[in-house]
């Protein structure tokens, strides 16, 4: 069985169209109150670019390719890690400010 992935023109267009449509439908259901975490969450999701950076770096065969590949992984990792950290923090706040009967102060220690 051949596990190598080959993507030719029309397959790519199918993927783009369907993924775009799925994204539109999924995001359309998010209430306005969550728009900031949503933006930061989708910001995290495109941090997957770090995988592309890893591919470029591990296939680097010159100094220049190593340098640019290193930059790609560095930036991609920052995108993913930072996006995850801020999204988690924001959502934790919504969690704690739900419909809770007790009126104690719930400010999180930072």
């Amino acid at each position: 069985m051949d596990f190598a992935i080959h993507i030719s023109g029309f397959v790519a267009i199918y993927i783009f169209v369907l993924a775009g449509f799925a994204g539109w439908v999924i995001i359309g259901g998010v209430p306005a109150i969550l728009h900031t975490p949503l933006m930061s969450g989708s910001n995290f999701v495109h941090g997957i670019v770090v995988v592309g950076g890893m591919f470029a770096l591990l296939n680097a065969s010159t100094r220049q390719e190593q340098a640019i590949g290193f930059l790609a992984v560095l930036l991609g990792a920052g995108n993913a890690a930072g996006g995850y950290a801020v999204t988690r923090r924001m959502l934790a706040m919504f969690q704690s400010s739900g419909h809770r009967p007790n009126k104690t102060r719930r400010r999180k220690a930072r």
Binding site: A19, H46, S97
Partner: protein
């Protein structure tokens, strides 16, 4: 079995899992209850994909074999530094600084996509014309997103205070963009009669793209930053998707495209909330035209003491609070909620009204109030609460300006005419907490402030809230004594 024949299915399966978990995770973000588990699942997908990407060592091209050990070391170093620094900054940044952090991380993603494209271009790895076009396009979008997001970050963080505008700027921008596309065209189609070598051409292409990102973002005002961040978010998603096509990695294609669609949807929603087109946000120098006209501001500003306003709210039946960027800037959300709890204890019905473009990011006010612990059933969006203002005793506007300017309803000459606003002016009494007598971010006089039913409270929002809390507490103890 060769190592490569094991590595490929493992990488494929992890990427597939990541793509699925991203979509499922985003789907779970449609409710505050399930959202934390959604981002957690997406995080697991990301972790799996990154760990699996180390297996690329088994499929590396022959030329890279002798570099493999160094490359793996570099990869670990890059992951540790980039991921570590961003994680640390993301944990410790204040909630009010969230918009600029998102802009920064977004720019990093765009930069990563551009860097991948650079490796492809310099290494001449994409021989087929389709691949080459897509690589160049991804490089362009990624670079614009990188430099543009950095400018957006600088603006939001206050490093750049004023929009920089010169006459004819749009033509300069257009020329730079056209030049960049021409250079890109040379890269794709070659051409014997050119003065530069290919590496020089590639470098020039990236310089032009980055320059265009800067030029495009510099003239846009701070009030429009929510739209700009959202656009760059979509742009980075698109750049990632395009690189995914070039690298034949469906996970990148799917994740990038989902984000591209999400960012586009958010951008359109916000533009609609401002009654402006996206093109209008990007290409008109909003707030730059002098538009002071005689007779526009009838009446006078009536300042009042914070303590009096606090007491008035204590004896009101219904209060609606309209938060704006000033609340975030003063970090007054916690004090505000303390004050609200005092009012609630006295039997006052208090609700919050959020305008879609209040703050510097869509939904920023919701996050701030959530941080303070305000239950989200007290928070209402514009269309759900706007009809209730007429029957409201007191409206407290904190650090918001343009989103409550009735000129948007009545004054055809106003630049914000037609923008849906919160009808704060229809309440019986309006208090506006404001730092000074200056205008809003859009630079427009606010007719609300001059209304008969409106009083101004000048001062830092945190100090004002503290005074109000004291005044209302004082009443309570006086009554008890």
């Amino acid at each position: 079995m060769t190592p490569a024949s094991i590595a490929l299915p493992l990488i494929g399966a992890s990427d597939l899992a990541a793509a699925f978990l991203f979509m499922y995770g985003l789907k779970r973000m449609s409710s505050p209850i399930t959202a934390p588990s959604g981002i957690f699942l997406a995080g697991i997908g990301m972790l799996a994909a990154v760990l699996a990407s180390f297996l690329y060592v088994f499929t590396a091209n022959p030329a890279a074999q002798s570099f493999l050990l160094t490359n793996v070391g570099l990869a670990i170093l890059a992951l540790a530094i980039g991921g570590g620094l961003a994680w640390w900054s993301g944990r410790k940044v204040q909630m009010t600084a969230m918009p600029q952090m998102v802009a920064l991380y977004n720019g990093m993603g765009g930069g990563a996509a551009a860097a991948i494209a650079a490796v492809e271009l310099f290494g001449a790895r994409a021989p087929a014309p389709t691949q080459l076009v897509v690589t160049v396009l991804g490089a362009l979008i990624g670079s614009i997103s990188l430099s543009g997001s950095l400018i957006a970050w600088a603006k939001l963080d206050g490093v750049i205070k004023q929009p920089w505008r010169v006459a004819g700027q749009q033509y300069v921008n257009l020329a730079v963009l056209a030049g960049t596309i021409v250079v890109g065209g040379f890269l794709v189609f070659g051409g014997a009669a050119r003065a530069l070598t290919t590496p020089q051409l590639i470098a020039l292409f990236f310089v032009c793209s980055l320059l265009y990102g800067v030029l495009m973002t510099v003239p846009i005002g701070g009030a429009d930053m929510p739209v700009v961040i959202s656009i760059f978010n979509a742009a980075t998603g698109l750049a990632v998707a395009l690189q995914g096509f070039v690298l034949e990695n469906p996970a990148l294609m799917i994740a990038g495209m989902v984000v591209g669609a999400a960012g586009t949807l958010l951008t359109l929603l916000m533009a609609k909330a401002m009654n402006r087109s996206v093109g209008n946000v990007l290409f008109t120098n909003f707030g730059a035209i002098p538009r002071r006209r005689a007779g526009h501001t009838k009446g006078s500003l009536k300042p009042t003491a914070a303590a009096d306003a606090g007491i008035a709210m204590r004896y009101a039946k219904t209060v609606i609070i309209v938060p704006g960027y000033g609340l975030a800037a003063a970090q007054a959300q916690q004090k505000l909620y303390d004050f609200v709890k005092l009012l609630q204890a006295a039997g006052v019905s208090v609700r919050f009204a959020i305008h879609p473009v209040a703050g510097r990011m869509p939904g920023q006010m919701d996050v701030l109030l959530a941080e303070a612990g305000v239950p989200y059933d007290l928070i209402f969006q514009l269309e759900d609460i706007n009809d209730d203002f007429k029957a409201t005793d007191v409206v407290l506007v904190i650090g918001a300006n343009d989103v409550v300017n009735p000129a948007a309803r009545t004054d055809k000459a106003s630049p914000i005419f037609g923008m849906p606003i919160l009808n704060a002016d229809q309440a019986r009494q309006v208090y506006v907490v404001k730092r000074g007598q200056g205008k809003g971010y859009a630079g427009i006089e606010n007719a609300l402030f001059y209304g008969e039913n409106c009083n101004m409270i000048y001062g830092d929002a945190a100090a004002v809230m503290a005074t109000m809390i004291e005044a209302v507490r004082g009443l309570g103890t006086a009554a008890a004594a």
